[in-house]
């Protein structure tokens, strides 16, 4: 429970720098798996820099909300990232917010993202906003149930505390409760980050896109912030998932050795979960929009079963 500006700064930089790399990795590996060569790993960095340098065109129908939204999306993702322990067990700002605040912050970003989609008055943006909010509405209860399961097991909603409890020897990773909660959260992760069974991040096919549709009118640095915010959000959710369920190797103190091991293990965990997402994306087809609630319904049921099993196994 300490407040260290250095920690905050370091984690902010880590979030900013790691997020595009993670997106780049996923894109590259996906291409490899599909027998394409794919873009370089650091392509997202070049994209971001290029976006920043470009001139901006803002729709003449748009109001101030349109220019305000990218900042909200970017900052909320970043703040949410500071609530999550990455390399060390203690998140820099766990005192300022727990897992509920994290969900709330991401929802705030989404709220403004959807408003930004509606603002220029294009039908694509409206369609994207409508679908985004619908999917979020169906995903949220599933996400909360899974989170509740873990929070109840750990007796706290504080993420760092959950991780601490999860590191204790009495915590069983392969207990059915945790397996089901993990599965539920993994499905939610796919939905929240706009991955394939739900949304196709590579699409520019007008009628199937969700996230892209909202960004259609954005250009220049606004677009950069939106894209960057989305990749930070993806990093945050993946980190949450791997560190809550597999807290192995996370640094409990600030010695260089512990931090070094922590960083290595963290990188390994991210690679594994990113690989899992790549496999899911390559082996599945995008679902029809009205099939998505079934998938998320399955996640909800998994979450509910996880809760019921806490009841049975305790």
């Amino acid at each position: 429970m300490n407040f260290d500006p250095l920690n905050i700064l370091l984690q902010t930089i880590l979030l900013l720098l790691l997020a595009p790399l993670l997106s780049g990795c996923i894109r590259n590996w996906k291409a490899k798996l599909q027998n394409r060569r794919g873009a370089r790993l650091w392509q997202p960095y070049s994209d971001l820099i290029k976006f920043f340098r470009k001139d901006m065109v803002i729709s003449e129908h748009a109001s101030w909300i349109f220019s305000f939204a990218p900042y909200v999306v970017f900052i909320t993702a970043l703040v949410a990232g500071l609530l999550v322990p990455m390399v060390a067990v203690q998140a820099p700002l766990s005192l300022f917010g727990d897992v509920l605040a994290l969900v709330g912050l991401l929802a705030l970003g989404r709220f403004f993202l959807a408003l930004g989609g509606l603002d220029p008055g294009s039908a694509f943006g409206g369609m994207g906003s409508s679908r985004e909010m619908t999917i979020a509405a169906v995903a949220e209860p599933a996400m909360m149930l899974a989170i509740f399961t873990v929070a109840i097991s750990a007796g706290s909603t504080d993420i760092s505390h959950i991780v601490q409890v999860a590191q204790s020897p009495t915590w069983q990773v392969l207990n059915p409760t945790h397996v089901m909660a993990f599965a539920a959260l993994f499905i939610v992760l796919l939905a929240e980050t706009g991955r394939i069974p739900v949304d196709n991040p590579a699409t520019h096919l007008e009628l199937t896109m969700i996230h892209e549709a909202m960004l259609l009118e954005y250009s220049g640095r606004h677009l950069a912030l939106m894209e960057w915010g989305a990749s930070i959000k993806q990093l945050v959710l993946m980190t949450l998932l791997v560190n809550i369920f597999f807290p192995i190797g996370m640094a409990t103190d600030a010695t260089p050795a512990a931090l070094g091991i922590g960083a290595l293990v963290y990188a390994g965990k991210l690679i594994l979960i990113a690989a899992a997402v790549v496999v899911v994306e390559t082996t599945n087809a995008k679902l029809r929009l009205f099939r998505v609630p079934d998938l998320l319904g399955a996640a909800f049921v998994l979450g509910a079963l996880a809760l019921l099993s806490t009841f049975l196994f305790q």
Partner: protein, 702 residues
């Protein structure tokens, strides 16, 4: 005895009377009537606000002042008011909202000049404020019921203010009927309590219906409940619980007793809608809290389970129906049902914890419910005031005819956005704080019992998450379609910003939303006396850390959250985009251009997404509930793909209307038709009825 709040309170109550009388006196001169009635109302509300703050900030244990307002020569009728912590908390709500809404009304009522009588509006508005304040302060059941009735009647008059429209008249009558069904249940409930206190005290003196005796009866019932004695008393208690639940539930608008709410709130003038949604329905919450926590003693488990379930169902159904609306004010009215549900989730959980003997947790859940009560009052009133400003500018409640207002009504848009973020329970505003407290109490509730009932807590929590996410979707729609993109009608294109007083009223509530979000410690401290009174605990110290900057929870190592911290952090992190801008983008230019129109000849408002279109995916997902009906008629010349004219109609009807109220209505009408035969108009027949009744009564007496 500490009677400091009293002079202020008397000023406040007298002020409302003067405001009402003055408004009627100046009825012929509308400007004077407007300024006088709403000016006096805002000053009186300010006095009430100060009285409430004075009392609550004195902390727990402050003496409860009590006075007779009027001398009364009628036996059993005493106009005694007292200011106890629970009453003071609701006095805070009614006065804060009274202040903001009165200021707003100064500008809003100008729209009625030359059309309607502003004096009458002002008089009824003052009376409504007076009656509502009296409801929160009444010290005995009779005075309470009288104030309750005056409140219902003045509210009815205000709902029917624009009575030229058929829609308004119908809504008014519906409100009147539902309200009286509720009052009937309340009278029966109080009679049951009165019977109990009379038996307890040994005589049915006026003392027997004072709130103090009811409280004493509650303690007796708790003892009986714990020792399993006196089953008769406990049965009466259960019946009283159900009667009060229905009676206050009608007023609060719980599902399925809510049908009056989406009908009555939209047709009333917007300042009245704001007051009704913000305060009037909270009198139901006040009543339930008063009765369940103060009068009826330790609750059995099923009470809490019932209240929690009703809360959960109301929350989810309220927001789902809200999503289907494209009438801005009806949409807000449905959200009131949702939020009443969230409040009841807190209260229900609190009852369950009181039953299982966890007073600290019970206080936490109670605080969550009460915190949400004031939050909902503030942001819902704010949203209704915003909707009123929009209505004033565009002359329509239909969102499909709005659009683009953010450019024409900058301040209203900003205030509405704050309200929308707050009601969607997003950080860093107040809605998030109270929902966070609700989540915390539900999560900790899981450990309080070992029975299967505990699965209700996380399921309710998940439903709360669903509610929050749907509310966010709904307010993206409400804000996005109303204020963003291109105007969809002539009226919207020529909309003008609201007047200064209208903006000031909204500004006060916006500030309250921000304050209650960033600095929860103040309100928690003011809630200490309330929880001390109702659950015997003061937990504000446990709930705040770091001088109240951080909101923590009652469990050791539980989660903490600090809205102020997150907000400041977000501001600090703005440095990141700034640095990037300095590094890369100083030479980038910005220009305005048209939205991409797929190569057509420019984008017209007709091509924009509509409110109905926006909620379509949700309508499809929940179609089992909504049972949407749609009719499409097309005319074409040579091929169905080239339609010349198209008519599209889509309806969603509430399942309660079709399944409960309409059959009930038909039944009542049918029975009445049969009974009409009795009342044939012949004197002889009536004489026979009287004779039969007399014989029956005599038999009964023997």
């Amino acid at each position: 005895m500490n009677i400091q709040p009293f002079p202020l309170l008397e000023i406040s109550l007298c002020g409302y009377v003067i405001g009402a009388v003055g408004a009627l006196v100046f009825m012929r001169r509308e400007k004077l009537a407007n300024v006088f009635s709403f000016g006096v109302a805002s000053l009186s509300a300010l006095a009430g606000l100060l009285a409430a703050l004075d009392f609550l900030s004195a902390g727990p244990g402050a003496a409860v002042p009590k006075i007779d307002l009027l001398p009364s020569s009628i036996p059993y009728l005493q106009f005694t008011v007292r200011l106890d912590p629970l009453g003071a908390f609701f006095l805070l709500i009614v006065s804060l909202l009274g202040l903001a809404i009165s200021i707003y009304s100064l500008g809003y009522a100008r729209g009625f000049y030359g059309r309607k009588n502003v004096g009458v509006l002002g008089a009824f508005f003052n009376l409504l404020l007076l009656a509502t304040t009296a409801v929160f302060l009444a010290d005995n059941a009779f005075f309470f019921l009288i104030a309750w009735e005056i409140m219902a009647l003045t509210a009815y008059c205000l709902v029917s203010f624009e009575h030229e429209k058929v829609e308004t008249r119908n809504a008014g009558v519906l409100f009147f009927i539902m309200s009286h069904i509720g009052t009937g249940c309340l009278i029966l409930g109080f009679l049951l309590l009165f019977q109990g206190t009379g038996k307890m005290l040994g005589d049915y003196s006026p003392q027997a219906y004072s709130f103090e005796s009811f409280h004493a009866l509650g303690e007796k019932m708790s003892a009986a409940f714990q020792n399993h004695t006196d089953p008769d008393l406990l049965l009466r208690r259960d019946i009283a619980f159900l009667l009060f639940l229905v009676g206050f539930g009608v007023k609060a608008g719980i599902v399925p007793l809510h049908i009056w709410l989406p009908a009555a709130h939209p047709v009333a003038p917007s300042n009245v809608s704001a007051f009704m949604s913000g305060v009037l329905i909270k009198t139901g919450i006040y009543g339930l809290t008063r009765v369940l926590f103060d009068f009826l003693g330790t609750p059995p488990n099923w009470w809490g389970v019932t209240v929690l379930s009703i809360g959960t169902i109301s929350a989810v159904l309220g927001v789902l129906y809200a999503l289907m609306e494209h009438d801005l004010k009806r949409l807000l009215a449905y959200h009131s049902i949702e939020n009443i549900g969230i409040i009841l989730m807190g209260l229900g959980a609190s009852l369950m914890f009181l039953h299982s003997g966890h007073p600290v947790l019970a206080s936490l859940a109670l605080i969550a419910g009460l915190y949400h009560t004031i939050n909902h009052a503030v942001f819902k009133a704010l949203l209704f005031l915003g909707a009123g400003a929009v209505l004033h500018a565009t002359h329509t409640r239909n969102m499909e005819e709005m659009g683009g207002l953010a450019k024409r009504m900058r301040w209203t848009a900003l205030f509405f956005l704050v309200g929308a973020v707050a009601i969607s329970a997003l950080p860093p505003l107040n809605g998030f704080v109270s929902e966070w407290l609700t989540y915390q109490s539900l999560l900790q509730g899981f450990g309080t019992t070992t029975s299967l009932v505990r699965i209700m807590f996380p399921i309710s929590g998940a439903m709360l998450a669903l509610t929050g996410a749907l509310a966010a979707a709904c307010f993206v729609k409400a804000f996005g379609i109303t204020f963003l993109a291109q105007p969809r009608s002539e009226h919207a294109a020529h909309a003008h910003e609201a007047s200064f007083t209208m903006l000031l009223g909204q500004g006060i509530l916006t500030a309250a939303c921000v304050f209650l979000g960033l600095f929860p410690a103040f309100l928690l401290k003011w809630l200490d006396p309330v929880t001390q009174q109702l659950s015997g605990q003061q937990i504000s110290a446990q709930l705040s850390a770091a001088n109240g900057l951080i909101l923590s929870n009652t469990a050791a190592q539980g989660g903490t959250v600090s809205m102020l911290g997150l907000a400041l952090l977000a501001l600090a992190l703005l440095a990141a985009p700034l640095v990037l801008w300095l590094l890369f983008a100083t030479r980038a230019k910005t220009r305005r251009g048209p939205t991409w129109d797929c190569g057509l000849r420019g984008l017209t408002p007709q091509m924009e997404y509509t409110a109905t279109g926006f909620s379509k995916p949700i309508r499809m997902i929940f179609k089992a509930l909504f049972r949407p009906r749609r009719e499409v008629q097309r005319e074409y010349d040579f091929s169905p793909y080239f339609t010349t004219t198209l008519r599209f109609e889509s309806h969603v009807e509430e399942v309660f209307q079709t399944r409960i109220y309409r059959p009930l209505n038909r039944l009542v009408l049918g029975v009445s038709r049969r009974l009409r035969a009795l009342q044939a108009g012949s004197i002889q027949a009536y004489l026979i009825y009287i004779f039969i009744t007399l014989v029956l009564l005599l038999l009964f007496a023997l």
